[in-house]
Amino acid sequence: ADGLQEVTLVLDWYPNAVHSFIYAAEEKGYFKEEGIRLNIQYPQNVTDPLTLTAAGKATVGIYYQQDVVRARANEDIPVKSIGPIVREPLNHIIVLDKEKTIQSPKDLEGKTIGYAGSDLSEAYVKSMVKADGGDPEKVTMQDVGFDLVPALITNKVDALSGALINHEVPVMEEKGFPTRTFNPADYGVPNYYELLFVSGDKTIEENPALLKAFLRASEKGYAYMKKHPQQALNLLIAKQDKENFPLSPKVEKKSLQILMNTMEQKEAAFLSDSTDVWQQQIDWMSEQKMITTKPQPTDLFVNLLN
C-alpha cells in the first residue's frame, strides 16, 4: 500500500552494537529511501538466518562464514554471502586474566576448554595449539551447552572457545572478570569474516535489485555510524529501551569500539568481498576435514554492489 517492498532480516542474535548500523539506517529512513520496509527478526533457532533465507522465508540473514561454506559444501543448501559485515574473527579463545599459567595457546596443554559443542570451535582450538607448538591431543574439550561464561567463572573450565570479544569479554569485564584473549588469525587459522549478510540463491537470482537496495541502505547506515558512533549506538539503545530491554550502554560502547576496527579495512571497504578470503577458508576447512567437497568461491558469495 505504501509502495515499499518488504525485506525480512533475520539477525544472528539479539540486537547489539554490531547491528547499530542497521538500526541507524532504519531510524534515519535510509531503508525507506531505498523503497524497503524492513522487518527485523531474532532467530528462533541458531540456524534460522541460514535455513530460512535458503528456504526463501526470509530475505536476508546475518550468519557466519564457515557455516556458509559448510552449508554449500556438505548439505548443498542454496545460500550465498552478499556482503561481509565483520571482517575479522571475534570468536577468540578467552581465559581469565588471573589465570597466569596460560599465556599463549600452547599453554592449553593439559587444560580444559569449554565450548558450545560445535566442531568449528574444536578445529580452532586444535589448530591454534598446534600452530603455537603445543600438542592438540593434550587439550580437553568440554561441551558446556549454552552457558559459556558461567562455566569459566566457576572454574569448571580453564578457557572458552565460542565467546565473542565484543560481547562476553566486555560483559565479564563489567562484572569484574578481566580476561586475556587469543585471536585464531594470529595462530594459524586464516583470517575470516565473523559475520556476513546471506541470502538465498533464489532471492539473489529473482530480486537482485531489492538486495542491492538493502545493501545500499546498510552502507549509508554504516557511514552514519562511522561518523557518529555514539549517536548510532544511542539509536539502538533507545530502540531497545522502547522494547523494555535495557542494554548495558557501557558494554555496547566497548563492543562498538572493538567492532569499528573490524568492519572495514584499509584495502577493503564495508561489505566488499574477495575471493581470497573464501579460498583460504575453503582450503583450511578441507584440511580440517570439515567439508567433503571443495566448492568454488564464486558459489559462496556475490558482490552485488559492483
Binding site: 527478526q41 528462533q44 533457532n45 535455513t51 558461567p150 566457576t154 565479564m172 523494555n244 542494554l247 548495558s248
Partner: protein, 247 residues
C-alpha cells in the same frame, strides 16, 4: 486463611535456604539471592508487568484452551475404541519425545514469527497429561453404571454426559493440575526460542547480559503465575469433586 499457612511456611524456609545458598555461592550471575531478585522485579515492574506478562499470558491462555480441546479430543478418540487407542498412543508418545528445538525451524516455516509458533510449543507440552489423564478417567467408568444407563436407552451422547464426564472429572483435574504449570513453562520455552516480548524472552535476554537477578526476575513472575493458576484449580477441585471416595 489458615490454609495459606503451610505453603507460606515452606516457602519462607525455602527462601531462607536459597538466600543462604546464594550468599555461599556468592555469584549473583549464577544464583542470585531472593532479595536481589525482588529488588529487580520492583525495578523492572513496568516492563515486566505491563508488557511481558500480558504477552506471555496471551500465549498461556490460547495454549491452554487448545491443549484442553486437543487433549480431551484425543482422550475421547482413544476411549472410543481399543483400535484407535493402540493407533494413537504411540503417536502421542512420539510427540513428547521430539525436542521442540528440532521442530522450531518447521514451526517458523509455517507460522513465521507469530504468536502461533509459541502457542504450538505450549500445546505440544501441555496436551499430553490432559489427554492421558482424561483417557484414564474415561476408562474408570464403572461397568455396572454404564450397563444400567444402556438399559435406560441412553444414547452414546447421554452416556457420555451423564456418566463418562462425571467419572472422568477427577482424573481430568489431575491432568489439568499437571498441565497448568506446563503451559507456563511451555510459553516460556516458546519465547526462549524466539520472540520479541514475553517473560521467557525477557529472561533469555537478561541471560546474555549475565544479569542473574534479571534472568530470575521474570521466572519468579512465571512461577507465581503458575501458583495462582494451580491454586484456582485446587480450589475448584476441592469444591466440586467431593464424591471421589464414596464407593
Amino acid at each position: 486463611m489458615r490454609k495459606m499457612l503451610p505453603p507460606l511456611i515452606v516457602m519462607l524456609v525455602l527462601l531462607a535456604v536459597w538466600e543462604w545458598l546464594a550468599h555461599l555461592i556468592a555469584s549473583p550471575y549464577i544464583l542470585p539471592s531472593p532479595r536481589q531478585i525482588i529488588e529487580k522485579i520492583w525495578l523492572l515492574r513496568e516492563p515486566l508487568f505491563m508488557i511481558h506478562l500480558p504477552a506471555t499470558l496471551a500465549i498461556i491462555a490460547i495454549g491452554l484452551v487448545i491443549s484442553l480441546v486437543l487433549g480431551i479430543a484425543l482422550a475421547l478418540v482413544m476411549d472410543a475404541s481399543a483400535w484407535l487407542e493402540r493407533a494413537f498412543y504411540p503417536l502421542l508418545v512420539v510427540s513428547q519425545t521430539i525436542p521442540t528445538t528440532a521442530l522450531a525451524p518447521i514451526f517458523v516455516l509455517w507460522f513465521g514469527y507469530s504468536i502461533w509458533s509459541k502457542v504450538l510449543v505450549t500445546v505440544l507440552i501441555a496436551f499430553f497429561p490432559i489427554a492421558m489423564n482424561t483417557f484414564d478417567g474415561l476408562r474408570s467408568v464403572k461397568k455396572g453404571q454404564l450397563e444400567l444407563l444402556q438399559t435406560f436407552g441412553a444414547s452414546r451422547w447421554q452416556q457420555f454426559w451423564k456418566l463418562k464426564v462425571p467419572s472422568a472429572i477427577p482424573s481430568f483435574f489431575t491432568g489439568l493440575k499437571i498441565a497448568v504449570p506446563l503451559t507456563v513453562i511451555g510459553a516460556a520455552i516458546g519465547e526462549w526460542l524466539g520472540a520479541q516480548s514475553g517473560l521467557g524472552y525477557f529472561s533469555k535476554r537478561m541471560m546474555t547480559q549475565m544479569d542473574g537477578a534479571g534472568v530470575f526476575a521474570p521466572i519468579v513472575v512465571l512461577s507465581l503465575l503458575a501458583i495462582v493458576f494451580a491454586t484456582i484449580m485446587t480450589i475448584i477441585e476441592k469444591k466440586y469433586i467431593t464424591w471421589r471416595k464414596e464407593a
